[in-house]
Symmetry: C2
Subunit: 319 residues, 2 copies
Protein backbone atom coordinates (compact mmCIF):
# COMPACT_ATOMS: atom_id res chain seq x y z
CA UNK A 1 0.00 0.00 0.00
CA UNK A 2 3.14 2.10 -0.26
CA UNK A 3 2.27 5.72 -0.87
CA UNK A 4 -1.35 4.90 -1.57
CA UNK A 5 -3.26 7.35 0.59
CA UNK A 6 -6.60 5.86 -0.40
CA UNK A 7 -5.74 2.69 1.47
CA UNK A 8 -4.08 4.58 4.27
CA UNK A 9 -7.40 6.30 4.80
CA UNK A 10 -9.25 3.02 4.97
CA UNK A 11 -6.72 1.45 7.23
CA UNK A 12 -6.47 4.29 9.65
CA UNK A 13 -10.08 5.31 10.03
CA UNK A 14 -12.39 2.70 8.61
CA UNK A 15 -10.86 -0.57 9.77
CA UNK A 16 -12.48 -2.18 12.75
CA UNK A 17 -15.31 0.34 12.84
CA UNK A 18 -18.39 -0.60 14.82
CA UNK A 19 -19.16 -3.50 17.10
CA UNK A 20 -16.97 -6.57 17.58
CA UNK A 21 -18.92 -9.65 16.60
CA UNK A 22 -18.09 -13.33 16.98
CA UNK A 23 -19.72 -14.08 13.63
CA UNK A 24 -17.15 -11.96 11.75
CA UNK A 25 -14.33 -14.35 10.87
CA UNK A 26 -12.32 -11.85 8.81
CA UNK A 27 -12.83 -8.08 8.68
CA UNK A 28 -11.43 -5.43 6.33
CA UNK A 29 -8.14 -5.92 4.46
CA UNK A 30 -8.66 -8.93 2.20
CA UNK A 31 -10.56 -9.35 -1.08
CA UNK A 32 -13.73 -10.08 0.86
CA UNK A 33 -14.85 -10.20 4.48
CA UNK A 34 -15.78 -13.59 5.93
CA UNK A 35 -18.86 -13.98 8.12
CA UNK A 36 -20.48 -17.00 9.65
CA UNK A 37 -24.17 -17.75 9.66
CA UNK A 38 -24.76 -21.38 10.45
CA UNK A 39 -24.01 -22.73 6.99
CA UNK A 40 -20.77 -22.35 5.05
CA UNK A 41 -18.97 -19.06 5.75
CA UNK A 42 -20.15 -16.11 3.69
CA UNK A 43 -17.76 -13.99 1.62
CA UNK A 44 -18.85 -10.35 1.32
CA UNK A 45 -17.36 -7.60 -0.82
CA UNK A 46 -18.36 -4.23 -2.25
CA UNK A 47 -16.78 -2.30 -5.12
CA UNK A 48 -17.63 1.12 -6.49
CA UNK A 49 -17.05 2.24 -10.08
CA UNK A 50 -17.07 5.96 -10.85
CA UNK A 51 -17.39 7.27 -14.40
CA UNK A 52 -14.15 8.85 -15.57
CA UNK A 53 -12.21 7.21 -12.74
CA UNK A 54 -12.85 3.47 -13.12
CA UNK A 55 -14.20 3.44 -16.65
CA UNK A 56 -14.12 5.95 -19.52
CA UNK A 57 -17.21 8.09 -20.00
CA UNK A 58 -17.81 6.58 -23.46
CA UNK A 59 -17.85 2.97 -22.29
CA UNK A 60 -21.21 1.52 -23.45
CA UNK A 61 -23.76 0.98 -20.65
CA UNK A 62 -23.76 -2.76 -21.37
CA UNK A 63 -20.10 -2.99 -20.42
CA UNK A 64 -20.52 -0.73 -17.40
CA UNK A 65 -23.10 -3.19 -16.07
CA UNK A 66 -20.95 -6.18 -16.97
CA UNK A 67 -17.90 -4.59 -15.38
CA UNK A 68 -19.64 -3.66 -12.11
CA UNK A 69 -20.39 -7.33 -11.50
CA UNK A 70 -17.10 -8.62 -12.94
CA UNK A 71 -14.92 -6.70 -10.47
CA UNK A 72 -17.02 -8.01 -7.59
CA UNK A 73 -16.99 -11.58 -8.91
CA UNK A 74 -13.23 -11.25 -9.01
CA UNK A 75 -13.19 -10.60 -5.25
CA UNK A 76 -15.16 -13.78 -4.64
CA UNK A 77 -12.87 -15.62 -7.09
CA UNK A 78 -9.80 -14.49 -5.13
CA UNK A 79 -11.28 -16.11 -2.01
CA UNK A 80 -12.19 -19.31 -3.85
CA UNK A 81 -15.91 -18.77 -3.27
CA UNK A 82 -19.17 -19.48 -5.04
CA UNK A 83 -20.88 -16.17 -5.92
CA UNK A 84 -24.56 -16.03 -4.86
CA UNK A 85 -26.29 -12.68 -4.35
CA UNK A 86 -25.74 -9.10 -5.45
CA UNK A 87 -27.18 -5.76 -4.36
CA UNK A 88 -26.86 -2.83 -6.75
CA UNK A 89 -26.48 0.87 -5.94
CA UNK A 90 -26.86 2.77 -9.21
CA UNK A 91 -26.51 6.56 -9.29
CA UNK A 92 -27.53 8.20 -12.56
CA UNK A 93 -27.51 11.83 -13.73
CA UNK A 94 -30.90 11.35 -15.40
CA UNK A 95 -33.49 8.57 -15.79
CA UNK A 96 -32.18 7.41 -19.17
CA UNK A 97 -34.19 4.29 -19.78
CA UNK A 98 -32.30 2.97 -22.76
CA UNK A 99 -29.03 3.37 -20.83
CA UNK A 100 -30.50 1.43 -17.89
CA UNK A 101 -31.81 -1.28 -20.20
CA UNK A 102 -28.36 -1.77 -21.72
CA UNK A 103 -26.71 -1.64 -18.29
CA UNK A 104 -29.16 -4.26 -17.00
CA UNK A 105 -28.50 -6.41 -20.05
CA UNK A 106 -24.73 -6.51 -19.48
CA UNK A 107 -25.06 -7.04 -15.74
CA UNK A 108 -27.79 -9.63 -16.20
CA UNK A 109 -25.86 -11.67 -18.73
CA UNK A 110 -22.86 -12.05 -16.48
CA UNK A 111 -25.08 -12.63 -13.43
CA UNK A 112 -26.89 -15.50 -15.12
CA UNK A 113 -23.63 -16.98 -16.40
CA UNK A 114 -22.23 -16.83 -12.85
CA UNK A 115 -25.29 -18.08 -10.99
CA UNK A 116 -25.74 -14.74 -9.21
CA UNK A 117 -29.18 -13.35 -8.30
CA UNK A 118 -29.52 -9.56 -8.14
CA UNK A 119 -31.70 -9.34 -5.04
CA UNK A 120 -32.15 -5.61 -4.57
CA UNK A 121 -30.59 -2.21 -4.44
CA UNK A 122 -31.14 1.47 -4.80
CA UNK A 123 -31.34 3.78 -7.82
CA UNK A 124 -30.62 7.44 -7.12
CA UNK A 125 -29.89 10.64 -8.97
CA UNK A 126 -26.33 11.97 -9.07
CA UNK A 127 -23.02 11.59 -10.91
CA UNK A 128 -22.76 8.21 -12.65
CA UNK A 129 -21.54 5.76 -10.01
CA UNK A 130 -22.13 2.05 -9.55
CA UNK A 131 -21.68 0.36 -6.18
CA UNK A 132 -22.24 -3.35 -6.20
CA UNK A 133 -22.17 -5.60 -3.17
CA UNK A 134 -21.71 -9.31 -3.61
CA UNK A 135 -22.10 -12.22 -1.23
CA UNK A 136 -20.64 -15.63 -1.94
CA UNK A 137 -20.28 -18.89 -0.06
CA UNK A 138 -16.98 -20.44 0.86
CA UNK A 139 -16.33 -23.72 -0.92
CA UNK A 140 -13.74 -24.78 1.68
CA UNK A 141 -11.22 -22.77 3.69
CA UNK A 142 -11.28 -19.38 1.91
CA UNK A 143 -8.12 -18.24 0.11
CA UNK A 144 -6.70 -15.24 1.96
CA UNK A 145 -3.84 -12.83 1.43
CA UNK A 146 -2.02 -13.79 4.58
CA UNK A 147 -1.16 -17.46 4.00
CA UNK A 148 2.03 -17.29 1.87
CA UNK A 149 5.17 -18.91 3.33
CA UNK A 150 8.84 -18.76 2.41
CA UNK A 151 9.51 -21.59 -0.03
CA UNK A 152 6.10 -21.33 -1.73
CA UNK A 153 5.97 -20.61 -5.45
CA UNK A 154 4.24 -17.53 -6.91
CA UNK A 155 1.71 -18.13 -9.69
CA UNK A 156 -0.18 -15.93 -12.09
CA UNK A 157 -3.18 -16.49 -14.32
CA UNK A 158 -3.57 -14.89 -17.73
CA UNK A 159 -1.62 -11.92 -19.10
CA UNK A 160 -1.67 -8.88 -16.78
CA UNK A 161 -0.99 -5.54 -18.41
CA UNK A 162 -3.29 -6.22 -21.33
CA UNK A 163 -6.25 -4.43 -19.70
CA UNK A 164 -4.27 -1.22 -19.19
CA UNK A 165 -3.06 -1.45 -22.78
CA UNK A 166 -6.63 -2.09 -23.90
CA UNK A 167 -7.82 1.06 -22.15
CA UNK A 168 -5.15 3.06 -23.99
CA UNK A 169 -6.22 1.45 -27.28
CA UNK A 170 -9.85 2.31 -26.50
CA UNK A 171 -9.03 5.93 -25.69
CA UNK A 172 -6.29 6.75 -28.19
CA UNK A 173 -6.41 4.65 -31.32
CA UNK A 174 -8.43 5.12 -34.50
CA UNK A 175 -10.95 2.59 -35.78
CA UNK A 176 -8.44 0.57 -37.78
CA UNK A 177 -6.06 0.21 -34.83
CA UNK A 178 -8.97 -0.61 -32.53
CA UNK A 179 -9.75 -3.56 -34.78
CA UNK A 180 -6.11 -4.57 -35.01
CA UNK A 181 -5.69 -4.62 -31.22
CA UNK A 182 -9.11 -6.09 -30.55
CA UNK A 183 -7.62 -8.66 -28.13
CA UNK A 184 -6.11 -5.99 -25.89
CA UNK A 185 -9.29 -3.92 -26.12
CA UNK A 186 -11.35 -6.90 -24.98
CA UNK A 187 -9.01 -7.50 -22.05
CA UNK A 188 -10.02 -4.05 -20.79
CA UNK A 189 -13.70 -4.02 -21.75
CA UNK A 190 -14.68 -7.53 -20.72
CA UNK A 191 -12.39 -8.82 -17.96
CA UNK A 192 -13.07 -12.44 -17.09
CA UNK A 193 -13.21 -12.97 -13.32
CA UNK A 194 -11.40 -16.22 -12.47
CA UNK A 195 -14.16 -17.77 -10.39
CA UNK A 196 -13.57 -21.35 -11.55
CA UNK A 197 -9.83 -21.06 -10.95
CA UNK A 198 -10.32 -19.64 -7.46
CA UNK A 199 -12.61 -22.50 -6.50
CA UNK A 200 -10.22 -25.07 -7.96
CA UNK A 201 -7.38 -23.59 -5.88
CA UNK A 202 -9.17 -24.01 -2.52
CA UNK A 203 -7.08 -26.45 -0.50
CA UNK A 204 -4.19 -26.02 -2.95
CA UNK A 205 -3.07 -22.35 -2.88
CA UNK A 206 -1.65 -20.83 0.31
CA UNK A 207 -2.64 -17.22 -0.53
CA UNK A 208 -4.41 -15.40 -3.37
CA UNK A 209 -5.40 -11.95 -4.56
CA UNK A 210 -7.05 -10.60 -7.68
CA UNK A 211 -5.20 -8.03 -9.76
CA UNK A 212 -7.16 -4.79 -9.72
CA UNK A 213 -4.30 -2.36 -9.03
CA UNK A 214 -1.48 -4.04 -10.96
CA UNK A 215 0.80 -7.01 -10.30
CA UNK A 216 3.35 -5.06 -8.22
CA UNK A 217 0.81 -3.47 -5.86
CA UNK A 218 -1.35 -6.56 -5.49
CA UNK A 219 1.54 -8.98 -5.03
CA UNK A 220 2.65 -6.41 -2.46
CA UNK A 221 -0.57 -6.98 -0.52
CA UNK A 222 0.18 -10.71 -0.26
CA UNK A 223 3.74 -9.90 0.82
CA UNK A 224 2.60 -7.40 3.46
CA UNK A 225 -0.24 -9.47 4.88
CA UNK A 226 1.82 -12.70 4.89
CA UNK A 227 5.02 -11.06 6.21
CA UNK A 228 7.15 -12.40 3.35
CA UNK A 229 8.92 -11.23 0.18
CA UNK A 230 7.70 -12.18 -3.30
CA UNK A 231 10.59 -12.62 -5.74
CA UNK A 232 9.39 -12.55 -9.33
CA UNK A 233 11.49 -13.87 -12.18
CA UNK A 234 11.56 -11.67 -15.34
CA UNK A 235 11.93 -14.48 -17.92
CA UNK A 236 9.03 -16.45 -16.42
CA UNK A 237 6.95 -13.30 -15.95
CA UNK A 238 7.31 -12.19 -19.57
CA UNK A 239 4.39 -10.07 -20.89
CA UNK A 240 2.23 -11.56 -23.63
CA UNK A 241 3.46 -11.42 -27.22
CA UNK A 242 0.66 -9.08 -28.30
CA UNK A 243 1.32 -6.73 -25.42
CA UNK A 244 5.02 -6.66 -26.36
CA UNK A 245 4.09 -5.95 -29.98
CA UNK A 246 1.74 -3.08 -29.06
CA UNK A 247 3.81 -1.49 -26.31
CA UNK A 248 7.45 -2.48 -26.81
CA UNK A 249 9.55 -4.14 -24.14
CA UNK A 250 9.86 -1.35 -21.54
CA UNK A 251 6.26 -0.11 -21.70
CA UNK A 252 4.87 -3.67 -21.70
CA UNK A 253 6.81 -4.32 -18.51
CA UNK A 254 5.49 -1.10 -16.96
CA UNK A 255 1.90 -1.99 -17.90
CA UNK A 256 2.31 -5.50 -16.58
CA UNK A 257 3.62 -4.41 -13.20
CA UNK A 258 1.72 -1.15 -12.76
CA UNK A 259 -1.40 -1.38 -14.93
CA UNK A 260 -4.72 -2.19 -13.31
CA UNK A 261 -8.04 -3.85 -14.09
CA UNK A 262 -6.83 -7.24 -15.26
CA UNK A 263 -8.71 -9.24 -12.61
CA UNK A 264 -6.32 -12.13 -13.01
CA UNK A 265 -5.32 -14.08 -9.91
CA UNK A 266 -1.88 -13.94 -8.33
CA UNK A 267 -1.46 -16.78 -5.85
CA UNK A 268 1.09 -18.76 -3.92
CA UNK A 269 1.29 -22.50 -3.29
CA UNK A 270 3.76 -24.85 -1.66
CA UNK A 271 6.36 -26.34 -3.99
CA UNK A 272 4.92 -29.82 -3.49
CA UNK A 273 1.59 -28.62 -4.87
CA UNK A 274 2.88 -27.86 -8.40
CA UNK A 275 1.04 -30.79 -9.92
CA UNK A 276 -2.16 -29.92 -8.07
CA UNK A 277 -1.93 -26.28 -9.20
CA UNK A 278 -1.60 -27.36 -12.82
CA UNK A 279 -4.49 -29.80 -12.44
CA UNK A 280 -6.65 -27.06 -10.88
CA UNK A 281 -5.85 -24.71 -13.76
CA UNK A 282 -6.72 -27.38 -16.32
CA UNK A 283 -10.00 -28.10 -14.52
CA UNK A 284 -10.79 -24.36 -14.56
CA UNK A 285 -9.60 -24.07 -18.20
CA UNK A 286 -7.45 -21.11 -17.16
CA UNK A 287 -3.80 -20.64 -18.15
CA UNK A 288 -1.44 -20.21 -15.20
CA UNK A 289 2.33 -20.01 -14.90
CA UNK A 290 4.83 -19.94 -12.11
CA UNK A 291 6.52 -16.53 -12.02
CA UNK A 292 8.59 -16.60 -8.86
CA UNK A 293 9.14 -17.69 -5.31
CA UNK A 294 8.33 -16.61 -1.77
CA UNK A 295 11.33 -15.71 0.42
CA UNK A 296 11.84 -14.49 3.94
CA UNK A 297 11.79 -10.68 3.98
CA UNK A 298 9.37 -8.13 2.64
CA UNK A 299 8.21 -6.41 -0.54
CA UNK A 300 8.04 -7.48 -4.17
CA UNK A 301 11.24 -8.08 -6.13
CA UNK A 302 11.78 -8.30 -9.88
CA UNK A 303 14.99 -9.99 -11.01
CA UNK A 304 16.52 -9.27 -7.62
CA UNK A 305 15.52 -5.59 -7.52
CA UNK A 306 12.79 -4.19 -5.23
CA UNK A 307 9.98 -2.89 -7.45
CA UNK A 308 7.09 -1.91 -5.30
CA UNK A 309 8.24 1.67 -4.81
CA UNK A 310 8.92 2.14 -8.49
CA UNK A 311 5.65 0.73 -9.70
CA UNK A 312 3.17 1.14 -6.88
CA UNK A 313 0.31 0.18 -9.15
CA UNK A 314 -2.93 1.94 -9.79
CA UNK A 315 -3.95 4.22 -6.95
CA UNK A 316 -6.91 6.56 -7.21
CA UNK A 317 -5.38 9.34 -5.13
CA UNK A 318 -1.88 9.21 -6.61
CA UNK A 319 -1.35 10.64 -10.06
Amino acid sequence: MAGCSEFDLIDRHLAGLGAERDDVLLGPGDDAAITQDGGRPLLMALDTLVEGVHFPADLPAYWVGYRALAVNLSDIAAMGGEPCWALLGLTLPAPDESWVAQFASGLGRLARASGVAVIGGDVTRGPLTVSLQITGRATGAPLRRDGAHAGDRVWLSGRPGEAAAGLAVWQQEGAREQARWQGLRQAFIAPRPRVALGQALVGVASAAIDLSDGLAADAGHIAARSGVALHLDPPRGRPSARLLRWAGEAEARRLQLGGGDDYELCFTAPREADVMVRAAARRARTPVRCIGEVHEGEGVWWGGEPILDRAAGYCHFVS
Copy 2:
Protein backbone atom coordinates in the same frame (compact mmCIF):
# COMPACT_ATOMS: atom_id res chain seq x y z
CA MET B 1 -44.76 4.44 -7.09
CA ALA B 2 -47.11 6.74 -9.02
CA GLY B 3 -45.14 9.00 -11.33
CA CYS B 4 -41.86 8.04 -9.78
CA SER B 5 -39.70 7.14 -12.75
CA GLU B 6 -36.79 6.17 -10.52
CA PHE B 7 -38.76 3.20 -9.27
CA ASP B 8 -40.22 2.52 -12.69
CA LEU B 9 -36.64 2.12 -13.90
CA ILE B 10 -35.83 -0.34 -11.12
CA ASP B 11 -39.01 -2.27 -11.62
CA ARG B 12 -38.77 -2.53 -15.34
CA HIS B 13 -35.11 -3.27 -15.87
CA LEU B 14 -33.43 -4.25 -12.64
CA ALA B 15 -35.97 -6.53 -10.97
CA GLY B 16 -35.32 -10.23 -11.28
CA LEU B 17 -31.93 -9.70 -12.92
CA GLY B 18 -29.55 -12.63 -12.94
CA ALA B 19 -29.97 -16.24 -11.93
CA GLU B 20 -32.95 -17.70 -10.11
CA ARG B 21 -31.81 -19.19 -6.82
CA ASP B 22 -33.69 -21.28 -4.27
CA ASP B 23 -31.88 -19.51 -1.43
CA VAL B 24 -33.46 -16.14 -2.33
CA LEU B 25 -36.70 -15.99 -0.33
CA LEU B 26 -37.61 -12.43 -1.35
CA GLY B 27 -36.05 -10.38 -4.16
CA PRO B 28 -36.31 -6.68 -5.00
CA GLY B 29 -39.32 -4.59 -3.97
CA ASP B 30 -39.34 -4.60 -0.17
CA ASP B 31 -37.21 -2.79 2.41
CA ALA B 32 -34.66 -5.60 2.26
CA ALA B 33 -34.15 -8.82 0.34
CA ILE B 34 -34.41 -12.10 2.25
CA THR B 35 -31.90 -14.89 1.67
CA GLN B 36 -31.41 -18.22 3.36
CA ASP B 37 -28.13 -19.67 4.47
CA GLY B 38 -28.71 -22.46 6.94
CA GLY B 39 -29.30 -20.26 9.98
CA ARG B 40 -31.99 -17.63 10.39
CA PRO B 41 -32.89 -15.87 7.12
CA LEU B 42 -30.64 -12.95 6.22
CA LEU B 43 -32.03 -9.49 5.45
CA MET B 44 -29.95 -7.55 2.92
CA ALA B 45 -30.28 -3.93 1.84
CA LEU B 46 -28.20 -1.24 0.19
CA ASP B 47 -28.75 2.52 0.18
CA THR B 48 -26.80 5.26 -1.55
CA LEU B 49 -26.52 8.86 -0.35
CA VAL B 50 -25.35 11.52 -2.81
CA GLU B 51 -24.18 14.95 -1.67
CA GLY B 52 -26.65 17.64 -2.66
CA VAL B 53 -29.36 15.05 -3.35
CA HIS B 54 -29.74 13.11 -0.10
CA PHE B 55 -27.98 15.49 2.24
CA PRO B 56 -26.93 19.14 2.01
CA ALA B 57 -23.33 19.85 1.04
CA ASP B 58 -22.70 21.57 4.38
CA LEU B 59 -23.82 18.63 6.54
CA PRO B 60 -20.87 17.81 8.83
CA ALA B 61 -19.00 14.60 7.95
CA TYR B 62 -19.94 13.11 11.32
CA TRP B 63 -23.62 13.24 10.41
CA VAL B 64 -23.02 12.00 6.86
CA GLY B 65 -21.45 8.88 8.37
CA TYR B 66 -24.20 8.54 10.96
CA ARG B 67 -26.87 9.01 8.32
CA ALA B 68 -25.42 6.48 5.87
CA LEU B 69 -25.81 3.77 8.50
CA ALA B 70 -29.10 5.11 9.90
CA VAL B 71 -30.98 4.83 6.60
CA ASN B 72 -29.77 1.27 6.20
CA LEU B 73 -30.59 0.33 9.79
CA SER B 74 -34.07 1.64 9.05
CA ASP B 75 -34.46 -0.94 6.26
CA ILE B 76 -33.56 -3.72 8.69
CA ALA B 77 -35.91 -2.16 11.27
CA ALA B 78 -38.78 -2.22 8.77
CA MET B 79 -38.27 -5.99 8.37
CA GLY B 80 -38.04 -6.57 12.12
CA GLY B 81 -34.44 -7.77 11.87
CA GLU B 82 -31.29 -7.67 13.97
CA PRO B 83 -28.60 -5.64 12.15
CA CYS B 84 -25.22 -7.42 11.91
CA TRP B 85 -22.72 -6.46 9.22
CA ALA B 86 -22.09 -3.45 6.99
CA LEU B 87 -19.94 -2.87 3.91
CA LEU B 88 -19.09 0.70 3.00
CA GLY B 89 -18.54 2.23 -0.45
CA LEU B 90 -17.18 5.72 0.09
CA THR B 91 -16.43 7.99 -2.88
CA LEU B 92 -14.54 11.18 -2.07
CA PRO B 93 -13.38 14.10 -4.22
CA ALA B 94 -10.05 14.20 -2.33
CA PRO B 95 -8.31 12.26 0.44
CA ASP B 96 -9.42 14.64 3.20
CA GLU B 97 -8.27 12.82 6.30
CA SER B 98 -10.04 14.98 8.86
CA TRP B 99 -13.29 14.58 6.92
CA VAL B 100 -12.85 10.80 6.89
CA ALA B 101 -12.03 10.75 10.61
CA GLN B 102 -15.26 12.63 11.40
CA PHE B 103 -17.24 10.47 9.00
CA ALA B 104 -15.85 7.33 10.64
CA SER B 105 -16.65 8.72 14.06
CA GLY B 106 -20.35 9.26 13.27
CA LEU B 107 -20.70 5.95 11.47
CA GLY B 108 -18.77 4.11 14.18
CA ARG B 109 -20.80 5.52 17.04
CA LEU B 110 -24.09 4.37 15.55
CA ALA B 111 -22.57 1.04 14.48
CA ARG B 112 -21.40 0.28 18.02
CA ALA B 113 -24.73 1.36 19.48
CA SER B 114 -26.53 -0.94 17.02
CA GLY B 115 -24.24 -3.95 17.33
CA VAL B 116 -23.13 -3.63 13.68
CA ALA B 117 -19.60 -4.53 12.54
CA VAL B 118 -18.24 -2.66 9.51
CA ILE B 119 -16.55 -5.59 7.79
CA GLY B 120 -15.16 -4.02 4.63
CA GLY B 121 -15.71 -1.80 1.66
CA ASP B 122 -14.10 0.35 -0.94
CA VAL B 123 -12.83 3.94 -0.90
CA THR B 124 -12.61 5.61 -4.30
CA ARG B 125 -12.14 9.03 -5.81
CA GLY B 126 -15.12 10.85 -7.29
CA PRO B 127 -18.11 13.01 -6.37
CA LEU B 128 -19.05 12.58 -2.68
CA THR B 129 -21.27 9.50 -2.53
CA VAL B 130 -21.82 6.91 0.20
CA SER B 131 -23.20 3.47 -0.57
CA LEU B 132 -23.69 1.27 2.43
CA GLN B 133 -24.82 -2.32 2.37
CA ILE B 134 -26.23 -3.89 5.48
CA THR B 135 -27.02 -7.48 6.40
CA GLY B 136 -29.26 -8.40 9.28
CA ARG B 137 -30.77 -11.57 10.65
CA ALA B 138 -34.47 -12.23 10.85
CA THR B 139 -35.75 -12.45 14.43
CA GLY B 140 -38.88 -14.36 13.31
CA ALA B 141 -40.98 -14.12 10.17
CA PRO B 142 -39.72 -10.87 8.57
CA LEU B 143 -42.15 -7.95 8.31
CA ARG B 144 -42.94 -7.35 4.66
CA ARG B 145 -44.89 -4.79 2.68
CA ASP B 146 -47.34 -7.30 1.27
CA GLY B 147 -49.10 -8.61 4.37
CA ALA B 148 -51.78 -5.96 5.07
CA HIS B 149 -55.41 -7.14 5.01
CA ALA B 150 -58.75 -5.32 4.92
CA GLY B 151 -59.83 -4.77 8.52
CA ASP B 152 -56.28 -4.22 9.82
CA ARG B 153 -55.41 -0.96 11.52
CA VAL B 154 -52.71 1.41 10.22
CA TRP B 155 -50.08 2.54 12.74
CA LEU B 156 -47.33 5.11 12.72
CA SER B 157 -44.32 5.73 14.93
CA GLY B 158 -43.03 9.19 15.79
CA ARG B 159 -43.87 12.43 14.00
CA PRO B 160 -43.29 12.29 10.22
CA GLY B 161 -42.78 15.61 8.48
CA GLU B 162 -40.37 16.88 11.10
CA ALA B 163 -37.29 15.76 9.14
CA ALA B 164 -38.35 17.69 6.02
CA ALA B 165 -39.07 20.71 8.19
CA GLY B 166 -35.69 20.27 9.89
CA LEU B 167 -33.92 20.29 6.52
CA ALA B 168 -35.63 23.59 5.68
CA VAL B 169 -34.60 24.97 9.08
CA TRP B 170 -31.04 23.83 8.44
CA GLN B 171 -30.91 25.41 5.00
CA GLN B 172 -32.92 28.59 5.47
CA GLU B 173 -32.96 29.88 9.02
CA GLY B 174 -30.47 32.06 10.87
CA ALA B 175 -28.57 30.97 13.98
CA ARG B 176 -31.26 32.10 16.41
CA GLU B 177 -34.02 30.26 14.60
CA GLN B 178 -31.80 27.18 14.26
CA ALA B 179 -31.59 27.10 18.05
CA ARG B 180 -35.30 27.75 18.47
CA TRP B 181 -36.24 24.86 16.15
CA GLN B 182 -33.49 22.56 17.38
CA GLY B 183 -35.97 19.66 17.74
CA LEU B 184 -36.97 19.80 14.08
CA ARG B 185 -33.35 20.22 13.06
CA GLN B 186 -32.38 17.11 15.00
CA ALA B 187 -35.19 15.14 13.36
CA PHE B 188 -33.45 15.77 10.04
CA ILE B 189 -29.81 15.51 11.11
CA ALA B 190 -30.01 12.50 13.39
CA PRO B 191 -32.92 10.26 12.42
CA ARG B 192 -33.42 7.38 14.83
CA PRO B 193 -33.96 4.09 13.01
CA ARG B 194 -36.70 2.13 14.78
CA VAL B 195 -34.80 -1.13 15.14
CA ALA B 196 -36.20 -2.02 18.56
CA LEU B 197 -39.77 -1.30 17.44
CA GLY B 198 -39.39 -3.39 14.28
CA GLN B 199 -38.15 -6.36 16.28
CA ALA B 200 -40.94 -5.98 18.84
CA LEU B 201 -43.51 -6.00 16.02
CA VAL B 202 -42.41 -9.36 14.58
CA GLY B 203 -45.36 -11.71 14.97
CA VAL B 204 -47.65 -8.74 15.71
CA ALA B 205 -47.69 -6.46 12.63
CA SER B 206 -49.07 -7.72 9.32
CA ALA B 207 -46.99 -5.35 7.13
CA ALA B 208 -44.42 -2.61 7.66
CA ILE B 209 -42.33 -0.05 5.81
CA ASP B 210 -39.95 2.69 6.88
CA LEU B 211 -40.69 6.26 5.83
CA SER B 212 -37.94 7.46 3.53
CA ASP B 213 -40.05 9.06 0.80
CA GLY B 214 -42.94 10.43 2.88
CA LEU B 215 -46.02 8.91 4.49
CA ALA B 216 -48.18 9.07 1.37
CA ALA B 217 -45.68 7.41 -0.96
CA ASP B 218 -44.53 4.79 1.55
CA ALA B 219 -48.02 3.90 2.77
CA GLY B 220 -48.72 3.61 -0.96
CA HIS B 221 -46.08 0.88 -1.23
CA ILE B 222 -47.88 -1.17 1.45
CA ALA B 223 -51.19 -0.58 -0.34
CA ALA B 224 -49.77 -1.59 -3.73
CA ARG B 225 -47.86 -4.65 -2.54
CA SER B 226 -50.72 -5.86 -0.32
CA GLY B 227 -53.47 -5.10 -2.87
CA VAL B 228 -55.48 -3.01 -0.40
CA ALA B 229 -56.40 0.63 0.35
CA LEU B 230 -55.00 2.49 3.36
CA HIS B 231 -57.52 4.97 4.75
CA LEU B 232 -55.84 7.49 7.03
CA ASP B 233 -57.82 9.59 9.50
CA PRO B 234 -56.81 13.31 9.65
CA PRO B 235 -57.62 13.89 13.36
CA ARG B 236 -55.63 10.81 14.43
CA GLY B 237 -52.83 11.61 11.97
CA ARG B 238 -52.36 15.16 13.22
CA PRO B 239 -48.79 16.54 12.78
CA SER B 240 -46.77 17.29 15.90
CA ALA B 241 -47.40 20.53 17.77
CA ARG B 242 -43.93 21.90 16.98
CA LEU B 243 -44.30 21.09 13.30
CA LEU B 244 -47.66 22.90 13.29
CA ARG B 245 -46.07 25.88 15.05
CA TRP B 246 -43.19 26.08 12.58
CA ALA B 247 -45.09 25.39 9.37
CA GLY B 248 -48.72 26.25 9.95
CA GLU B 249 -51.58 23.81 9.33
CA ALA B 250 -51.45 23.40 5.54
CA GLU B 251 -47.67 23.21 5.17
CA ALA B 252 -47.36 20.86 8.16
CA ARG B 253 -49.83 18.53 6.47
CA ARG B 254 -47.88 18.72 3.19
CA LEU B 255 -44.58 17.97 4.97
CA GLN B 256 -46.15 15.10 6.89
CA LEU B 257 -47.56 13.41 3.81
CA GLY B 258 -44.92 14.34 1.25
CA GLY B 259 -41.71 15.06 3.18
CA GLY B 260 -39.01 12.42 3.32
CA ASP B 261 -36.22 11.17 5.55
CA ASP B 262 -38.15 10.55 8.77
CA TYR B 263 -37.29 6.84 8.98
CA GLU B 264 -40.31 6.23 11.16
CA LEU B 265 -42.24 2.99 10.68
CA CYS B 266 -45.69 2.79 9.14
CA PHE B 267 -47.23 -0.59 9.80
CA THR B 268 -50.48 -2.50 9.84
CA ALA B 269 -51.80 -5.01 12.37
CA PRO B 270 -55.02 -6.90 12.88
CA ARG B 271 -57.61 -5.16 15.08
CA GLU B 272 -57.28 -7.88 17.72
CA ALA B 273 -53.59 -7.05 18.07
CA ASP B 274 -54.11 -3.51 19.44
CA VAL B 275 -52.96 -4.45 22.91
CA MET B 276 -49.94 -6.30 21.56
CA VAL B 277 -48.98 -3.35 19.35
CA ARG B 278 -49.09 -1.00 22.33
CA ALA B 279 -47.09 -3.46 24.44
CA ALA B 280 -44.49 -3.79 21.66
CA ALA B 281 -44.19 0.01 21.42
CA ARG B 282 -43.73 0.29 25.20
CA ARG B 283 -41.09 -2.43 25.12
CA ALA B 284 -39.29 -0.54 22.34
CA ARG B 285 -39.82 2.82 24.13
CA THR B 286 -41.17 4.21 20.87
CA PRO B 287 -44.36 6.28 20.57
CA VAL B 288 -46.91 4.85 18.13
CA ARG B 289 -50.45 5.78 17.25
CA CYS B 290 -53.22 4.31 15.16
CA ILE B 291 -53.87 6.61 12.19
CA GLY B 292 -56.31 4.66 10.07
CA GLU B 293 -57.63 1.43 8.67
CA VAL B 294 -57.05 -0.98 5.83
CA HIS B 295 -59.96 -1.37 3.39
CA GLU B 296 -60.59 -3.30 0.22
CA GLY B 297 -59.50 -1.24 -2.78
CA GLU B 298 -56.29 0.53 -3.64
CA GLY B 299 -54.27 3.66 -2.90
CA VAL B 300 -53.89 5.87 0.14
CA TRP B 301 -56.83 7.96 1.34
CA TRP B 302 -56.85 10.94 3.68
CA GLY B 303 -60.22 11.79 5.24
CA GLY B 304 -61.96 9.96 2.42
CA GLU B 305 -59.97 11.62 -0.40
CA PRO B 306 -57.31 9.85 -2.48
CA ILE B 307 -53.98 11.53 -1.75
CA LEU B 308 -51.26 9.58 -3.40
CA ASP B 309 -51.38 11.55 -6.66
CA ARG B 310 -51.42 14.87 -4.89
CA ALA B 311 -48.55 14.10 -2.59
CA ALA B 312 -46.48 11.45 -4.26
CA GLY B 313 -43.70 11.92 -1.75
CA TYR B 314 -40.04 12.47 -2.34
CA CYS B 315 -38.88 11.20 -5.68
CA HIS B 316 -35.38 11.81 -6.93
CA PHE B 317 -36.31 12.15 -10.58
CA VAL B 318 -39.47 14.20 -10.12
CA SER B 319 -39.07 17.88 -9.27
